[in-house]
C-alpha cells in the first residue's frame, strides 16, 4: 500500500497537527511512513505544506503530479498545491464556496480528480472551535475510508495527540466533518500505479 498525501494550509491553523495525526495513524496501523514538515517562516501567516508518504519510500518528498491525496485547509492553498496531484487523485478543500471557477472545473474533470468541498471553518465555528477546522477536514477525509485512515484509526490517533481539555470538542468537530462528506455518497477512488 502506498499513499502520497499533501497537507496544505497557512501557518497557525493546525496543518502540522493534521499531518502528524496522519503519519501516526499509518504507523500505529503497522505501515512504514515518513513526513516532511515546513518550518521557519510558517508561523508568520505564510503557506505551510506538509507531505506524508505511506509505504516503502526513502524520502518524504512528493513529485509534481505524483500525489494521491490533497488536503487543502485553505482554498487558495488548494490552487497553489494542485500541481502535486496526479490524475485521478482525491482533493478535500476547506471552503465556503460551492464550486470552482469554470477553467478549474474543466481541468479537474479532465484530470479525473475527485473533489470534496467542505465548509470546515463553518463546522468548527458551529462547535465553538474556530481553530479546529483541521479536525473537520480530517473527519471528511475519514468518510472515504481509505485504509489505514478509517474513522476508528483516526479518532484513536486524535485521542492520543490532542490534550484532554480540547479532546471532546475536537472529536465532535471531526464527527461533523465525517457526516458532512459522508452524506454525499461513496466515491470510488481510482488507484493508479506510480
Amino acid at each position: 500500500m502506498k499513499h502520497e498525501i499533501i497537507c496544505a494550509g497557512i501557518g497557525g491553523r493546525g496543518v502540522l497537527l493534521a499531518s502528524t495525526i496522519l503519519i501516526e495513524a499509518a504507523i500505529t496501523s503497522g505501515l512504514k511512513a515518513v513526513a516532511s514538515d515546513e518550518y521557519g517562516m510558517s508561523q508568520r501567516g505564510g503557506s505551510v505544506v506538509s507531505l506524508v508518504k505511506v509505504g516503502d519510500f526513502a524520502s518524504p518528498f512528493i513529485g509534481r503530479e505524483n500525489g494521491d491525496i490533497l488536503l487543502a485547509f485553505e482554498e487558495s492553498e488548494f490552487y497553489r498545491t494542485l500541481f502535486f496531484l496526479k490524475k485521478g487523485g482525491l482533493a478535500l478543500i476547506n471552503t465556503r464556496a460551492e464550486g470552482f471557477p469554470s477553467s478549474v472545473d474543466t481541468l479537474l474533470k479532465k484530470r479525473g480528480i475527485v473533489c470534496r468541498l467542505v465548509d470546515a471553518d463553518g463546522i468548527a465555528r458551529d462547535e465553538g472551535m474556530f481553530q479546529s477546522a483541521n479536525m473537520a477536514l480530517l473527519g471528511s477525509f475519514a468518510s472515504f475510508g481509505i485504509a489505514p485512515f478509517t474513522r476508528e484509526v483516526l479518532e484513536n490517533t486524535i485521542r492520543s495527540r490532542v490534550p484532554e481539555k480540547f479532546l471532546a470538542k475536537n472529536l465532535a468537530v471531526f464527527a461533523k466533518g465525517f457526516e458532512a462528506a459522508d452524506g454525499q455518497g461513496a466515491v470510488k477512488i481510482p488507484q493508479q500505479g506510480v
Partner: protein, 594 residues
C-alpha cells in the same frame, strides 16, 4: 534491548542517539533548522532519568567552547548544536580544536539550510569539514541520524578527535518512527556503499537527503536495472569503496547538497557529472522534480531511458492563470510589536538609513524600515560605517539600526561598545520581545529560565547598554506610537549635541506568541474598513497579514480570525482619528527640529 518506537523529527532523533551514547554536556544556540536538538536532549534525558548538563549558550562560539572545554580537558562526552551560519561564529575554535587530542568525545551538529529557506545564505558544512580535515557524517533520514549520532559520539571518544554531523532541514524536520534503545544498547546499522541498482553505464553517488530522493526517483522511473546507486554516509574522509565504485561504472552522476564536496573528492572531471558541468543546479534546494528532470535527462542522453520521460501537464497552470491566489509572503504576525516599531521609524523618516539584523524583525524590510541583512550583529557595526561615510562629508543623517534582544546579546555587545569607543552617532532601536521568536521561542539570558525550564538569574538589557557606555537610553512601549515617534526625534536631537555617542531606544513589549493571546488594546474589534477610502497606504506602511484589499468593494478588509485587536493600524490610516493626530504630531516634531 529495544525499548519502543516513537515518531520523532530528525533533530529529536539526533538528540536520542547522543543521549543513548552517554552524552554528558550539551550546549547550543538556536537557529533554524537546528533548534529542536537541545530540547530533544532535555526530553530524552528526563525520559531516561540520566544526568546531562544542557544549556542555551549566548552564541555558537560559547556553545562550542563549553562543549570543547568539557570534552578536551575533562574527559566528558559533549556535543554542541548550531545552524550552518552558526558554525561560522564557532569557526576560530573549530579550527584549533581539530589539532587537539581530546580526552573525552565531542560531536558538533551543524544543520544546513539548502535554499536557503530561513538563512541569509546557503553554506555547506561538509565543505568546511573536508577542507580542514574534520570527519563528517551526512545522514539520509531521521532513523539514520539517530544511529549516526550514537556512533559518532562513541567514535570521537575512542579516536580522540571531534566529529561533525551535518544535517539539512529536510532531515532535521522529516518525521518518522525510530527505535528507542536503553542507553548504551543501540544496535547501529550504518549503510554506506553500493546499495541499489545493477546498471554499469551510470553510477549515481549521493549523500544525505539527496540519496533518499534519488532512491525514490529511480523507483518511479523504473531505472534500477540500468543505474547503480552508491550512498555516501561518511563524506570525509572518503572510503576506499567509493573509489572502487567510481572505477566500476562508465559515468558518474553526483547528487549532493549544497556544494561540490563528494564531486571534488572524486576529482575525475571526465567521468563525473554534477555541479561542475551544470547537470545539477549550482544553488538552491534539490527537490524531487529537479532530481526527476535531471535523471530523466541523463538517462535519455546515455540512451538508458526505460519509460517515456515525465512531461508536466501544462494545462494545470493554464487553468489556474485566471484564479486569484492570495500571495502569502512571510510577514510579521498580526499584533507583532516589531511592526509598530517599524511603523514609527518609517513614519518619521521614510528616507532614513535602516541597517537591519537577523531575526523576525528582518521582515521590517516590507515596511521600508530595514535596508540591510548581512550577519548577526552587523546592523550595529554597519550603522557605524554609514555614519562615517556621511560624517566625512560633514553630514549627519538619520541612521536607525534595529536589532532584537536575543541577537543583541548574541552579537552586538562588542559592536555597540565599538560605537561608543569610536564616537559614532546613530540610533539603535533594540526590539525587546523577551524571547527568541524566529527560531521557536527559546528563552534569552534576559528571560531567566534555562532550557530545562528551571528559573535562573536574569540579565537586564538596559544594564548592559549602560555598562557599555551609552548615555542616551529610553525604554518605550512600541504600541505607544506617538511616544515612539517623539522619542526617536528626541534621540536624533541628542545625536546633534556634544556627547558624540550612539542613542539607544529599547522598544519593549512581549512577543504575542509568548503571551499566547490577543493584544486586547482595543476592546472592540478593529473596524478600519468602515471608513476606508481605499487609499491602500496602510498596506504599504503597516503590512499586517490580517489586512487585505477587497478589489470588489475597493476597501480594506480585516480578517477577524487572525486580527489581535491591537488597533495600531488606526495610526496608519489617514482618515482615522489616530492617523490624523499622528500627521499633526509629525508636522510638529519636524517643525520643532528646524
Amino acid at each position: 534491548m529495544q525499548s519502543r518506537e516513537e515518531v520523532v523529527i530528525g533533530n529529536q532523533a539526533i538528540a536520542r542517539g547522543l543521549v543513548e551514547a552517554g552524552l554528558e554536556i550539551a550546549a547550543a544556540y538556536p537557529g533554524t533548522p537546528s533548534s529542536e536538538i537541545l530540547p530533544g536532549v532535555v526530553y530524552f534525558k528526563k525520559m531516561e532519568d540520566v544526568k546531562i548538563h544542557t544549556e542555551w549558550s549566548t552564541n555558537e562560539l560559547c556553545a562550542f567552547e563549553v562543549a570543547f572545554g568539557a570534552a578536551a580537558y575533562s574527559g566528558a562526552r559533549a556535543a554542541c548544536f548550531m545552524k550552518q551560519v552558526g558554525l561560522n561564529v564557532a569557526f576560530p575554535a573549530l579550527l584549533r580544536s581539530r589539532e587537539k587530542t581530546i580526552e573525552g568525545g565531542l560531536v558538533i551538529v551543524s544543520c544546513d539550510d539548502p535554499g536557503p529557506q530561513s538563512s541569509q545564505t546557503e553554506q555547506d558544512t561538509r565543505l568546511i569539514a573536508a577542507l580542514f580535515g574534520i570527519p563528517v557524517f551526512d545522514p539520509a533520514s531521521p532513523t539514520e541520524a539517530a544511529d549516526v549520532a550514537y556512533y559518532a559520539l562513541n567514535w570521537s571518544f575512542e579516536n580522540k578527535v571531534p566529529v561533525i554531523i551535518r544535517s539539512t532541514h529536510r532531515v532535521s524536520h522529516a518525521r518518522e518512527s525510530i527505535s528507542l534503545y536503553s542507553p548504551g544498547a543501540r544496535k547501529v546499522s550504518l549503510q554506506e556503499g553500493h546499495l541499489a541498482g545493477t546498471g554499469r553505464k551510470l553510477g549515481i553517488v549521493a549523500s544525505g537527503m539527496s540519496y533518499s530522493l534519488v532512491y525514490d526517483v529511480i523507483e518511479e522511473l523504473g531505472a534500477a536495472d540500468v543505474v547503480s546507486l552508491y550512498k555516501v554516509l561518511k563524506v570525509y574522509p572518503p572510503s576506499e569503496a567509493l573509489s572502487d565504485f567510481v572505477r566500476s561504472v562508465d559515468r558518474v552522476l553526483v547528487v549532493e547538497e549544497t556544494d561540490r564536496v563528494i564531486e571534488a573528492l572524486i576529482g575525475d572531471d571526465k567521468k563525473v557529472m554534477g555541479r561542475s558541468d551544470g547537470t545539477v543546479p549550482s544553488s538552491g534546494e534539490i527537490t524531487y522534480d529537479i532530481v526527476r528532470d535531471m535523471l530523466s535527462g541523463v538517462l535519455g542522453r546515455l540512451g538508458l531511458a526505460r519509460k517515456d520521460l515525465f512531461a508536466p501537464d501544462g494545462t494545470i497552470e493554464e487553468a489556474l492563470s485566471d484564479v486569484a491566489v492570495i500571495p502569502r509572503p512571510p510577514k510579521l504576525c498580526p499584533g507583532c510589536p516589531h511592526r509598530a516599531s517599524f511603523f514609527a521609524m518609517q513614519y518619521l523618516w521614510p528616507d532614513a538609513i535602516y541597517p537591519g539584523d537577523i531575526g523576525c524583525y528582518t521582515l521590517g524590510i516590507s515596511q521600508g524600515a530595514v535596508d540591510t541583512c548581512l550577519d548577526m550583529g552587523a546592523g550595529v557595526t554597519m550603522a557605524e560605517g554609514f555614519y562615517d561615510a556621511f560624517n566625512q562629508d560633514g553630514k549627519l543623517v538619520p541612521i536607525l539600526a534595529s536589532v532584537g534582544d536575543s541577537t543583541f546579546l548574541h552579537a552586538c555587545l562588542a559592536p555597540l561598545y565599538d560605537a561608543v569607543k569610536n564616537r559614532k552617532r546613530f540610533i539603535l532601536v533594540l526590539m525587546d520581545n523577551s524571547t527568541t521568536a524566529m527560531t521557536g521561542m527559546q528563552p534569552t539570558p534576559q528571560t531567566g529560565v534555562t532550557v530545562d525550564g528551571v528559573k535562573t538569574r536574569s540579565v537586564a538589557i538596559e544594564d548592559i547598554v549602560k555598562g557599555l557606555g551609552v548615555k542616551y537610553l529610553k525604554i518605550v512601549d512600541p504600541y505607544d506610537v506617538p511616544l515612539m515617534i517623539g522619542t526617536i526625534r528626541e534621540a536624533f536631537d541628542y545625536l546633534k549635541g556634544d556627547e558624540m555617542l550612539p542613542a539607544v531606544i529599547i522598544a519593549r513589549r512581549q512577543c504575542l506568541l509568548l503571551t499566547k493571546g490577543a493584544a486586547k488594546e482595543a476592546e472592540y474589534p478593529v473596524d478600519i474598513e468602515r471608513d476606508c477610502i481605499g487609499c491602500k497606504s496602510c498596506l504599504a506602511t503597516f503590512d499586517c497579514p490580517a489586512m487585505s484589499f477587497d478589489e470588489g468593494l475597493k476597501k480594506i478588509r480585516i480578517d477577524d480570525s487572525i486580527c489581535t485587536n491591537c488597533g495600531i493600524c488606526y495610526y496608519a490610516c489617514p482618515v482615522q482619528v489616530k492617523g490624523k493626530a499622528l500627521r499633526k504630531l509629525k508636522g510638529l516634531v519636524k517643525q520643532g527640529a528646524k
